[in-house]
Symmetry: C2
């Protein structure tokens, strides 16, 4: 298209979107606001800003230059936040190492990301020592410690705090291309090696601005505002703690970093530091609200953004009765992550808790600058009618542009110019997303997609069913048909009674008749993965 593009004045400043701009913005706010570590160490924003400059000088003195990669293995800390800024601001790449991976996988990611320098906390020295001889690109280590520090066999260039104090407090952060890679981290599937996703300065700045806008305006009572106090309960190595540390810093509000997650300590920090906003998976919300310290804690005014797994109605209701305000977000590592968030319209706000809950547990409404479609197996966009189910595909300025060093996987992710989330959902006319299943678990039968999760829920509503797992198996006539494994609660349960139970839902039009499993097996238990999810891959491999 022949749009009008004018050459800028030769002196004009182009203003690349760089992470340093987020830090500049934070300096316009109340400088006495604090960044707190574990309730013990406290830094004003003025101090934080100085420490970021010291860290930049320290990294430079350790030989790190633009294009190099700095790996961090730490719990959630002020140090990690400093790295969120200083590392990309000198033009280097921050690798937030997923410390929950096995030693082998950590080794794989550190070699794959080509880490040059590693900042490692006491608690992770053993795992790094166990792989250090196989690390191909690492030139040295910096020691992160909350105490005296541990002796180690690693080539330690110094201890973080000591090196920081030796470094100059002034650093003039340079300009460079806004498309420069700022961060990289790894996402794991059930098969193969972890895959590296990466985000540019431009992407992180836009994600930050959009998330701030969303958190501040999505609801009559903002999730985040100038008086908020923020504490992450999603690890900083996981999608930059959902990007909120950047948002909170841009807004210049008080931030609390809890170190290693421990339910009682988290509840105590919420109480003692006056935390108003956090984000976590449902399990952690449950652990914190059921901890001993929770009994001493008033949770009123604590807003929690839930993601990772679905929030159940029961948990949502339970925590709302305690004063917690739960919201649900949806996204993935590949999308930086934010795609959608609970929106409480004026109409919803006036509903009683019980009815609001139904909206709070849905996957939210797409935020600004997120284009979304749901598509059937042929790639056709389906209507947003709350009924049609299809794969969620998205476009947004903050989606990874591929997988690190694996172009063919990037092409698969972006097939047809849309990022394929692998999730199957319906979208309601009011914009709310209902995530139904993973596309690899959905059962394609009789020209329709049946959610294995929906079917498991329907089967589980039978009074004698303890739990159920459903997978699709190939079927000559219908493409696929469901295959169900069921654990009985009482013992006296047979396939016919399950078929009869499901027949009522066919009669009600909730499912079609092909959705009734072809095979129903009563079993003693259901194969699970190491994190307790149903291992459908294993079940399928056992059947075929």
């Amino acid at each position: 298209m022949n749009t009008k593009i004018l050459p800028p004045s030769s002196s004009a400043y182009e203003y690349p979107l760089l992470i340093k701009r987020i830090l500049t913005s934070s300096q316009r706010f109340e400088q006495e606001n604090e960044i707190v570590y574990q309730g013990s160490r406290r830094f004003s924003y003025a101090q934080f800003n100085e420490r970021v400059q010291r860290l930049a000088n320290m990294l430079t003195e350790l030989g790190i230059k633009a294009g190099d990669t700095v790996a961090v293995l730490d719990w959630d800390s002020h140090r990690y936040l400093e790295c969120f800024f200083a590392v990309p601001m000198i033009g280097a790449v921050l690798h937030t190492v997923n410390i929950r991976l096995s030693a082998d996988q950590i080794l794989y990611t550190m070699n794959h990301a080509q880490d040059d320098l590693v900042l490692v906390h006491d608690d992770f020295i053993p795992v790094v020592e166990s792989i250090k001889d196989q690390l191909e690109t690492v030139k040295g280590y910096v020691h992160l410690s909350d105490g005296q520090g541990e002796a180690s066999s690693l080539n330690m260039l110094g201890e973080y705090e000591s090196l920081l104090m030796l470094a100059s407090p002034d650093y003039d952060f340079p300009d460079f291309d806004e498309n420069s890679v700022a961060t990289v981290f790894y996402t794991t599937g059930t098969t193969g090696n972890p895959k590296g996703v990466y985000f540019s300065h431009r992407q992180l700045v836009l994600h930050t601005m959009n998330m701030l806008t969303t958190l501040a305006t999505n609801n009559p009572d903002p999730l985040l505002g100038p008086g908020s106090v923020y504490m992450p309960i999603t690890p900083m190595f996981h999608s930059h703690a959902w990007g909120v540390p950047y948002v909170a810093t841009m807004l210049g509000i008080k931030q609390v970093y809890p170190g290693r997650y421990e339910a009682n300590a988290l509840a105590r920090l919420i109480r003692e530091e006056g935390v108003t906003f956090s984000h976590c998976v449902p399990t952690l919300l449950q652990m914190v609200t059921q901890s001993d310290e929770a009994r001493e804690t008033r949770f009123n005014g604590w807003k929690v953004l839930i993601g990772g797994s679905p929030l159940t109605t029961g948990l949502a209701r339970h925590v709302m009765e305690m004063g917690v305000e739960p919201f649900t977000g949806y996204g993935m590592s590949e999308t930086c992550p934010l795609l959608s968030l609970t929106r409480i319209t004026s109409q919803l706000a006036s509903l009683p808790i019980d009815e609001q809950v139904e909206y709070r547990i849905k996957a939210g409404v797409p935020t600004g600058l997120v284009d979304i479609q749901i598509r059937d197996a042929e790639g056709r966009a389906l209507p947003f009618d709350g009924v049609a189910k299809g794969e969620v595909v998205v476009r947004t300025p903050w989606a990874t542009q591929g997988y690190l060093h694996e172009p063919e996987k990037g092409e698969e992710l972006w097939e047809g110019g849309w990022l394929h989330t692998g999730d199957v959902a319906s979208v309601h006319p009011d914009g709310y997303l209902d995530i139904k299943d993973r596309i690899k678990d959905v059962i394609k039968t009789g020209g329709e997609w049946v959610s294995s999760l929906d079917l498991e829920n329907l089967i589980s509503s039978h009074p004698k069913v303890e739990s159920a797992a459903v997978v699709g198996v190939p079927d000559e006539r219908w493409g696929e048909r469901p295959y169900a494994l069921i654990v009985s609660r009482s013992g006296s349960l047979d396939a016919a009674s399950i078929e009869q139970h499901l027949a009522q839902f066919v009669a009600e039009g909730l499912i079609n008749k092909w959705a009734i499993p072809k095979t129903i097996r009563i079993v003693d238990d259901i194969p699970k993965t190491s994190v307790g999810k149903i291992n459908k891959k294993y079940i399928r491999s056992e059947i075929f």
Copy 2:
């Protein structure tokens, strides 16, 4: 710098920042929210969205293509808002014609911008008729009318509403380079022809996101949120009504477009439509709050962003007593315009009205993504100590990259890679800007800059002074010295008494001794410009 830049997957979607994204975002909100014209015509967002698509088809059918320029001469209307979106979204350029210019200047701007199509309201048909034979690029006109419409000698291609209803309601807006020019408008100085400033899609999207963030988080009680009702009282041809129509649309809130400004009608709309947020110059705030309709109106909860001229303490206090909450913004046509905005910190919020007013009338604190410096005559950056005065220079992603077709003026604007605002200010340690003067009016004497406005205020504090004007005149020894024209209130006033009056401020250290005018003339009146400002250019020309 060798930062890491990775090639995207060949299928990956790059997501240019285009104005159509603002419209998509608005569709996620409450679709029954209204866009109201003069309290009589009402459109839901769903209707608005359809009308934007119809307008795109209508423009295409009238021969407009990417790169063409569409001029609009209208009062603030739903039509104008539709043009804000449809024109740039088809890749064309929207020229928002400054209808306050003389016919000659309007002619100059329309030829200079190379307008292809002109949308003209009844009220502006006479002026366009008077210049139509000299318009060099215009191919046709579309008639905007609130009534029966007027007959005219223009080559009318049709009436807006009729053409809209004939056009198809579906338009698939294309992607193109985010640096494509979206809008152009003209800024006037005291000399020479108006200068064209222009903004790209990227610039407007970033300005919109940043302004939304700022309005939503700058204060404990947000200026704009999901429940707000917006009505502009700054014309849409003037810096896109400060960019707020884009912000309000992105947020999907109710918007009220008042047509031609009339104080009583504006007050009535505020009352009847429940307006919560507006922006205007101080004069309009005064007119609206002193109108007859104001007596029937409760202004509680009406937040008003003031810009253009300084808000006086008196007016601020007066309107605050009526329930209005005034804020001050600073910016200029060249900067899209937002650079800074009043920030009420928790500390300020707790102050009594009288003390808050002092902050509300300052020029605000720079917003996110705005880099700011104040510089002395040698271009050195000065400290933010509330005392040092220098020219405000800025960098921001939404600054015009030059003046249309006038590269040499663009280089002057951007000298040294910073945009020169031409304003002299001090910056307080808390970030607040205090605009002191225009740099061309500041008096450079004895190595310091003396604000002519400060000096006028000090002189005017003499009980016998009615008004004063101060300009700088060349001085061999001191560079410049002040020259004062004073209108006496009572008649019995001489230069010596003014000198004596000013001597106390020298003693107090408020001004230095060179700031006492070398020449003090008591005059009958002070030369003013057509808009009532002191004509310093004329005064200087009379002296030299």
